[in-house]
């Protein structure tokens, strides 16, 4: 018990620091959001969404549905069952690949105007797109921290983590990275009017 407490102190400290960084970042984003009047907001809402914003919303939804479906299956059956049951593993891998393919397709459609001569992006779209990786990186780091903390806590006494978790870590990080990019774009438009401010 004493040994457990000694390794948990730096672990919980690291989690507390990460949590504080995440909260501070979220507070910063909230503080820098656009403060539009009701009239300004309704005028903005009347204008059609840029294509990038529409596609980012759609790909966020696709990503979250995929992640939700996979989480529900794995929570219901457990990691050990996933590893031992071929049918279940094929189902999970199938959903993962289908979700990824759809998401990557949307992502490609989202950024492909960047390379066309008749670009459909204006300068605000490009600014939003350029800042999206900040959100993506943050979400990936938080995912890795969550995996790290939960696995160390769960398997510390055994001294080893089952191989299945390597696949699950890989899968979730890839999915969260893709979703994070789209979420970054959505957040960028939400904060949008501040971009380019002098």
């Amino acid at each position: 018990m004493e040994a457990t407490a000694s390794w948990m102190v730096p672990m919980l400290g690291a989690v507390a620091v990460l949590g504080a960084i995440a909260l501070y970042s979220a507070y910063g984003v909230w503080g820098r959001r656009a403060r539009l009047t009701a009239e300004e907001r309704s005028e903005l809402a009347a204008a059609p969404m840029p294509k990038l914003q529409k596609r980012a919303l759609l790909s966020t939804a696709v990503g979250l549905i995929t992640l939700g479906a996979l989480s529900a299956i794995l929570t219901t059956y457990g990691a050990a069952e996933y590893w031992d049951n071929d049918d279940l593993r094929l189902t999970v891998v199938g959903i993962f690949i289908a979700g990824m393919a759809l998401h990557v397709g949307l992502l490609t459609a989202m950024v492909s105007p960047l390379w066309s001569e008749e670009s459909q992006f204006d300068e605000r779209d490009r600014q939003v797109l350029a800042q999206a990786p900040a959100v993506q990186t943050g979400l990936v780091l938080l995912t890795l921290a969550a995996w790290n903390t939960s696995l160390v806590t769960r398997f510390h006494d055994q001294g080893a983590v089952p191989t299945v978790y390597l696949y699950l870590i890989f899968g979730t990080v890839v999915l969260v990275s893709l979703i994070g990019h789209s979420v970054g774009i959505v957040v960028g438009y939400w904060m949008g009017p501040r971009f380019g401010e002098s």
Binding site: E43, L44, P48, E123, R124, G196, S198
Partner: protein, 70 residues
Amino acid sequence: MAKAEIQNSIRKLRFEHDEMTQQQLADRVGCSRQTIVLLEQGRYAPSLALALRVARTFEQSVDEIFQLQE
């Protein structure tokens, strides 16, 4: 350094130019209608290129349309 706000007379100029719609202006200067809305609200400071395209559309100089308020 004090924060600067950029105001502009785009909305007034649109109406003076045959009541040009926001979408028409957006198409002419190559940006989305949302960007024009935010520009008119003074919530978005354009790049120099966009400011020059807006000025060319209304046949005025940039500093006649955009004013820096500190």
